[in-house]
Amino acid sequence: MSAELYNNLFDPNASHQGTDALVAAFAIEGRLRRAALELANDEMLDGMWVEEERAPEQAMRYAADDRDGVQASFSGEGFTVVLRLAEQGWTATQTAGTAGASLKVDGAWVVLTPDQAVTMPIDAMPDKLLLVDLSGQEVTLTR
């Protein structure tokens, strides 16, 4: 019953007597203020007016570049791997170095085939990559 009494203050169609009408007017204004704040915040978080809206967070860092996608080249000890962000997600392409290498990503292994893009289980551009060559030697690739 107390909830009904309280909620009734926010109902524009409810009838109130005496000073209760002032309290109801105050409540209705409060409801509108909350709605205004939430609507403005929703539109911001929804990226309604952000042109780079669909790019993931890390790509947004490069928004000033006006590029649709993001890519970076990582090299070390004769190996080069290019990371790209495309519509379908992140991919890695080995462009230099011997075949049979893999990338270690958070405990997972991503097997590389030279000049072929493979899916990368990441959601942001890393600072470096850890490559394991055919002999098992680990190589840190940097940008």
Partner: protein, 324 residues
């Protein structure tokens, strides 16, 4: 070409140098960010050169001197934070202008929220958003979209169905010729699939049509309040005469809080007698006194905006921790 932004920020932070050039850079980027935004996001709901310049200056001022709690500022003003973190130019531009949550976009949001409370047509949009929210909470399912993204809503038990593009959905909603927000919301979700509350608001606004621009309400408070200090004193004095439970009720009402939110902070209001008593006291001891001091006849139904908006604004000014 060398990116001059980090050096400009550093020079400004360390000695107040290069301010004009840094401000010029700011204005250029702010103008670019502002380009897609409609009038409603700018001061006085008018997008023009002056409004964009004003936005740029305020963004600059905030970056220079206002401490921000959120990532990546952690209690520092943005410019000093950029220098301490050794951000490159792109990262500075990202946090200042281009990020979904940037200093500039936060200002645009705040100006929009202000206009949504003050502009008659935009107030109608806010009320529509609130009404849609009521329908969604009562009869639809929320679908979280992840941290920092508003949830989408869907009809309960939605199975496989053909989804229509927004313009087709709008046309079908118009064909319904229904003024019922509940009917339109359910039909929109059935036709378009899951939508956010803000997208639904814009869709229904397009269907229902915004009301004609109202004339300014008669008896607006600025005309009647001989001196603003009088209102300030009246609000402060009336506030002091309220008991804790009364003040809790005022704070909850001003925030449009739910009953559950009210009693979670004030369990004493968990019964009808205490709520009824608090409502009476707030009406008699607080609002009546303030309205009388404002010099306007206490007719809440006649001019609720002219009576309540300035009271809320004054409360926020006097007690920012509770009302801001």
């Amino acid at each position: 070409m060398e990116d001059t932004m980090p050096a400009l920020v550093r020079a400004f932070v360390e000695g107040g140098h290069e301010a004009a050039q840094l401000l010029s850079e700011f204005m250029r980027h702010v103008a670019r960010v502002a380009r897609p935004y409609p009038d409603a996001y700018f001061v006085l709901s008018q997008k023009n050169d002056d409004a964009v310049d004003d936005l740029g200056h305020r963004s600059f001022s905030i970056c220079a001197s206002v401490e921000k709690g959120r990532f990546p500022f952690s209690g520092r003003a943005p410019f000093p934070a950029y220098v301490e973190e050794q951000f490159d130019g792109r990262t500075i531009r990202y946090h200042s202008f281009y990020a979904k949550i940037s200093i500039t976009r936060e200002l645009l949001r705040d100006d929009y929220a202000f206009n949504l409370r003050r502009d008659p047509v935009l107030r109608w949009r806010s009320e529509l958003y609130a009404d849609i929210g009521t329908v969604l909470k009562e009869s639809c399912e929320s679908m979280p979209q992840g941290r920092g993204v508003p949830p989408k809503w869907q009809r309960p038990g939605s199975g496989l169905r053909m989804l229509q593009p927004p313009e087709v959905v709008e046309a079908r909603l118009r064909q319904l010729d229904s003024p019922s927000v509940e009917t339109l919301v359910h039909e929109a979700l059935a036709q378009a699939g899951a939508l956010t509350q803000s997208r639904l608001t814009h869709m229904l606004e397009a269907v229902l049509g915004t009301p004609a621009v109202d004339e300014p309400e008669a008896g607006c408070v600025e005309e009647h309040t001989a001196d603003r200090m009088g209102l300030r004193e009246a609000v402060a004095q009336a506030w002091r005469s309220l008991e804790d439970a009364d003040q809790a009720l005022v704070i909850s009402l001003s925030k449009g809080a739910s009953y559950e939110e009210l009693i979670s902070g004030h369990p004493a209001l968990n019964n009808k007698v205490s709520v009824s008593r608090a409502v009476s006291r707030v009406g008699q001891v607080f609002l009546s006194e303030v309205v009388e001091a404002m010099g306007i006849e206490a007719s809440a139904d006649a001019t609720p905006r002219s009576l309540m908006e300035p009271i809320m604004s004054m409360l926020a000014e006097l007690f920012p921790r509770d009302f801001a």
